[in-house]
Amino acid sequence: MTLPLPAPPLLATITGDDLLQTGFSGLAVGCKYALIALGFSVVFKATGVINFAQASLVLLGAYLTFNFSQTWELNFYVGLLLAMAGGALLGVVIEALVLRRLVGEAPATVIMVTIGLLFVLDNVVTAVWGPDNHNLGDPWGIQTREVLGVTVADRDLWTIGFTALAVLGFFVFFRYSTLGLAMRAAAFDSEVAMAQGIPARRVYRVAWAIAGMVAALAGATLAAGASQLSPATGALALVAFPAIILGGLDSPLGAVVGGVIIGLVQQFTALLAPEYFDWVGESFERVSPYLVMILILLIRPYGLFGTKEVRRV
């Protein structure tokens, strides 16, 4: 029986550059999660629905982008915009056909319906485009550049840019537009909002449209790179769950912060776990986000930025 060797000092095997590099890739991965989480949280904020089908919207958005830019050979950015329009359309259709009938039902019911939709949509996507991996057709490919001594992939820079843009768009929309104001009011108290003449149905519809749009954007950033597009891309979206829960379900700001935290946690686990705590097992980074989520929820049951539910007798 040999005793385990003491852990080597930090800088011996893992250099400061490694940490910086990991921090950057964590930020990039986190931005992808943040984009997915934004879609979840806008639907939740407006309608109170945890939408598992968001994962299918992400998958479909990625495949639509692929379809427009590769199969139809349009410009990639035009294809991406079209895919976002398609995602928005699908979101509206789902809301009109299914979710509208479930307003006021128990959360369990609505969650299961969106899980059912997830099964249907995912498999329809697989049936249409096949199980093989594809190139998304993004212009960024696998190019990299040096920034501050760190090697960064172009597609990661774009992802961060898109996320910043989306967050800015969210902020401007909710802060300055009439519809955004209506949505905030409806989310705050839908009955009072309706009494003020705010059309609840339009608010729901717009929320789903935005979710579909962000989903397509998220899908494209997830699938960018070499042969990264496959039906499994949708499963990646489930990793965004810890992000939204961590940030608080009804907070877009929380979605972004949660996404970045989860991304950093994941990348740093991948870097440090094999070196310093290998007893947690292989590919621990796939579950470490969930562990962090559970720990934080035990301290703050409504997430970091979520609204605390008031219960009165």
Binding site: F44, R101, V120, P131, P242, R286, I294, V313
Partner: protein, 387 residues
Amino acid sequence: MATVHALTDALRPGRRGPAPGLALSYADEIKLLRSPRRTPWRWLLVVGGLLLFLWLPTYLGDPGLRVLALCGIFALGAIGLNLLTGYTGQISLGHAFFVGVGAYTAAYFGSDHGWPMPAYLALAALLGFVVGGVIGPFALRLRGNYLVVVTLGLVFLGEHLWNNWDSVTGGGNGTSLGAAPMTVGPLDFKQGLELGSEHYTFEQSFFWLVWALVIVGALLAKNLVRSRAGRAMQAIRDRDLSAEVIGVSPARYKVGAFAWSSAYAALAGALYGLLQQYVSPGEFGLFLAITYVAMIIIGGLGTIFGAIVGALFVWGGRSLIEQNSGQALFDPLITSRSGEAGIFTIGELNAVLFGLAIVLFLLFEPRGLAAFWFRIKTWFLTWPFSY
């Protein structure tokens, strides 16, 4: 008492005794089965069901029995989940984790350590109970949507554990239950039962074992939910705050519901391992968890027999499609991806139908298949009136 008899006799000339629905004492009221004279149809169902249980294995072939045994295993787990979700209102996507606990307990103690079958089955259920009781307190702190995602996380953490705890679970490759003894006294389920001069196959014997356990489990659950504990659970489901105000302890009953539901799941997992003879981590993932929730929704939330019907419907339907996929009916739909016409592979078709079934049931019949039974029953009970 006698007056009541006279009264009801007068109301229903030509029939002796009180009306079928009328209970004369509390003991009478809480009987699951009253005398055959008073509830003839229910007796017919019970006796018919028992005869079916005894006779079916001698009629069906081994593949069919294997599917039905698997349905029974799912039914057992679904009864457990219904205690938690249908009766206590705690939505859990983590059921698959507890199923895994049971399966690996059976593998480790049964196969690796050679414990006798009753011992490792009991230990599986007990471990499920304990682990469920440890996870249960999370439900006290988290509610609704947050609980769903935490239990979802439990499934992923569980899969990671099964993948990495090599000494017990065999890691990603899985572990075999081939060496687990399957004898209870003189009954050897693995070699097949010897009853009199008859020899029965493994599938026949296992069908009897599983469905006998389903019957016992269903009765136990039924009695649990009609007792004080069951009423407390339903009060928490309907409005937890009100339940708390009238003196129901949410801590006790939420944790209790988690523990019992996990015990059922773990027993189902152990039986699943015995039937398949091999278990690997991927089988206890998100898909299994969702399948269980779908079963109780399609069968009927908050009914014991709904869980059984839902398990038969979901898993039986799936297997029927798989076995009949070669038929002409499916030609336009199913392809093997080798260039022939058709849209989906069998797996995709099954998943799409599964998803559609969940959506359509929740949209159009949220009470599930059980509602059909309630409707038929009401129709007969109130006949000739429509309500």
